[in-house]
């Protein structure tokens, strides 16, 4: 099983049971097809996406696993952050449908051929897709929610540490003085 991959692709050995290989967006469907037919990696178990904002790309990871569930192979595919569509794998793997739906909502990535790209977890979200790096959750929170003002005995941790240090210092100084 490994030999086929070794022969045809530049396989990265991450651990003895976890491999990775890089594909381009165009190669993806073809490679997947080859791998699922020629090796035992025939199950899609996870679809990941990492936002490398400084490199202007999303890195999608198609995690494949074999029928024995003993080895994992990750197909990595980088796409530009602005041109965000991918071919859908829904016809290849039934479970891809919902994973793509999730990434669509969280990153705004379109999947051509997936009919179910409606709301997944969020209802009526009209801001930047939340998992993109440029989305600042704290700013969003500040804009949309009110925080409860703290208790009266609520202490600012940093101030308090400083105060205590100062107190300890002065306490140290006082006995020396006395």
């Amino acid at each position: 099983m490994m030999s086929y991959l070794e022969e045809h692709y530049e396989l990265i050995h991450k651990t003895p049971r976890l491999f990775a290989l890089h594909v381009t967006r165009e190669q993806l469907l073809d490679t997947l097809h080859q791998i699922t037919t020629h090796t035992s990696f025939d199950t899609l178990s996870q679809l990941t996406c990492t936002d490398w904002i400084e490199e202007e790309r999303f890195e999608l990871g198609y995690m494949l696993t074999n029928a024995l569930r003993s080895h994992n192979l990750m197909l990595k595919c980088s796409i530009a952050r602005d041109k965000v569509t991918m071919p859908s794998l829904a016809l290849l793997f039934a479970q891809a449908e919902v994973m793509e739906r999730e990434l669509h909502e969280m990153f705004g990535i379109g999947f051509e051929g997936n009919e179910t790209l409606y709301d997944f977890a969020l209802e009526g979200w009209c801001d930047i897709p939340p998992m993109r790096r440029e989305f600042d959750t704290l700013a969003y929170v500040n804009a949309h929610y009110d925080f409860r003002e703290g208790r009266e005995d609520n202490l600012d941790v940093k101030e308090e540490i400083k105060k205590r240090k100062a107190a300890a210092k002065s306490a140290k100084e006082t006995p020396s003085g006395a």
Partner: protein, 204 residues
């Protein structure tokens, strides 16, 4: 009682004695029955739902206090909001609360309902439940233990017996505009039906 988040509760407890003396016998009896029979709509909005089963089953057996779980909001007296609320859930919680019959009370379970708790910087959880719904009793902790929840019920019993005009459902009725404005601000265009419109208050 010096710990935890209690200023609002504390203020109520202080008033309790003075209110009690002004109640008639019948009012006291009614309040007693209300306090000793609490039908709970346990809405498992978040993690808090996991401590609900122990509370209701043989280890902690909250049925001793007359607390019973019911299935639908119509039958319930007390709504437990068990943990963080995403706006999507909050809509359903509000809907359920509005379908309950007065007098109705809310127990906010867990730190997340008080101030967002662990998820203080999450874009999808609310930080202050009492902006949107009148919370009668908060039980803090992450997770609050079943004992804490029972304590919350006992305190709520006291509050119900005090028959205070500060009770949440009265607040919700009288200050509906305030709560509604907060809800609308959060939900934007996707608002729920208006509580006032649903109930014409017609007496048959």
């Amino acid at each position: 009682m010096d710990e935890g988040f209690i200023p609002y509760q504390q203020s109520l407890e202080d008033e309790e004695q003075s209110i009690k003396s002004t109640q008639s016998v019948i009012e006291q009896a009614i309040a007693w029955f209300r306090a000793h029979s609490m039908f709970v709509l346990a809405y498992g909005t978040g993690c808090g739902a996991i401590e609900m089963p122990p509370t209701f089953t043989s280890r902690y057996d909250i049925e001793r206090l007359g607390v019973v779980g019911v299935a639908t909001p119509r039958q319930a007296d007390i709504l437990i909001v068990s943990g963080y609320c995403s706006p999507k859930t909050l809509k359903r919680v509000i809907r359920s609360y509005e379908q309950m019959s007065e007098p109705k009370y809310i127990i906010g379970l867990g730190s997340c309902t008080i101030n967002g708790g662990m998820y203080w910087d999450s874009y999808n959880t609310i930080k202050k439940l009492d902006d949107f719904l009148p919370v009668d009793m908060y039980v803090n902790g992450c997770m609050p233990r079943p004992e804490a929840l029972i304590e919350g019920f006992v305190k709520l019993q006291e509050k119900i017996r005090a028959n205070s005009s500060e009770a949440g459902y009265i607040q919700y009725r009288t200050r509906y505009a305030h709560y509604r404005a907060n809800q609308e601000r959060l939900f934007g265009t996707q608002v729920q039906p208006r509580y006032e419109e649903n109930f014409a208050g017609m007496n048959l």
